[in-house]
Symmetry: C2
DNA sequence: TTAATTATGTTATATTATTACACAGCGTTA
DNA sequence: TAACGCTGTGTAATAATATAACATAATTAA
């Protein structure tokens, strides 16, 4: 576990929950699970999520509207993210492949666009569900 | 086998609207724009969108909950999609780069997962907004 | 021609996310 | 020391996105 001294109370509660989860969590499921800790409203959850995303502690799985803890211990911000998502069991794994991230970070096409961020989601069947 | 070349009435109306749009459209904005053509309920829109996505005529921009027409004339299904998104003007361009798509389609990591689909979203500033 | 499939229409509701407003704590600075 | 900016909190209300459930019609396949 990384240090979290700089996080606020709500941010800590929510990060802790996400880090302990075995899979992606949805915002309202997070809300349900932290009610006993005094967090009562969606906005309290979304504010903490926004901050945690901003500092790279968690990522949003866009295609699922769900949130996972960052597994790259050195990930400070979410500027280059890649995930593999099992379409059967909905398990999500963060892909950390140096070649891939270098390839994508350096990618440029003819559009003249300057990229500063990307998000990649692979879909398929995980080892277990393939059987 | 199935011809399926023929789209239904609602599907045609909605595809037509999306194809004529200069940028991504959101579901409820689509709904608003097709009310005069007799489509009255969200579900009618979402059903048409689902079908159009399935056959590769449109794509969903996951990070924006918005829909764009497919610009790859040969794109039959949405199994390998890449977009560049301007964070200022929200313009979206479909990236069609053979090297990139080959690289990603053949990508495999140690997870043992078999990928059959991916979606990549690049973020940055487009040529105009960069100035 | 019947059965299966696909699409439609409609109402209601579920799920995801934000706006708006009030206030509290904390470090800076002037 | 208070005035300020900044970040975070609490709360209510509501907006935006998406699906469930049910009934019916149109199209396709055997």
């Amino acid at each position: 576990m990384q240090k979290q001294e700089n996080l606020s109370k709500n941010q800590k509660i929510i990060l802790d929950l996400i880090e302990k989860s075995s899979g992606p969590l949805k915002a309202y499921s997070i809300l349900f699970n932290v009610k006993k800790q005094g967090i009562k409203a969606p906005l309290q959850v979304y504010r903490a999520l926004d901050k945690l995303i901003e500092i790279g502690k968690i990522h949003k799985i866009e295609s699922r509207n769900a949130f996972v803890a960052c597994k790259n211990s050195n990930c400070q911000v979410s500027k280059a993210t890649a995930f593999s998502i099992c379409e059967n069991c909905e398990d999500v794994t963060e892909v950390s492949n140096l070649k891939l991230s270098k390839y994508l970070s350096n990618f440029a096409d003819k559009s003249g666009m300057k990229y500063n961020k990307y998000n990649l989601e692979f879909f398929g069947l995980c080892k277990n569900c393939k059987k």
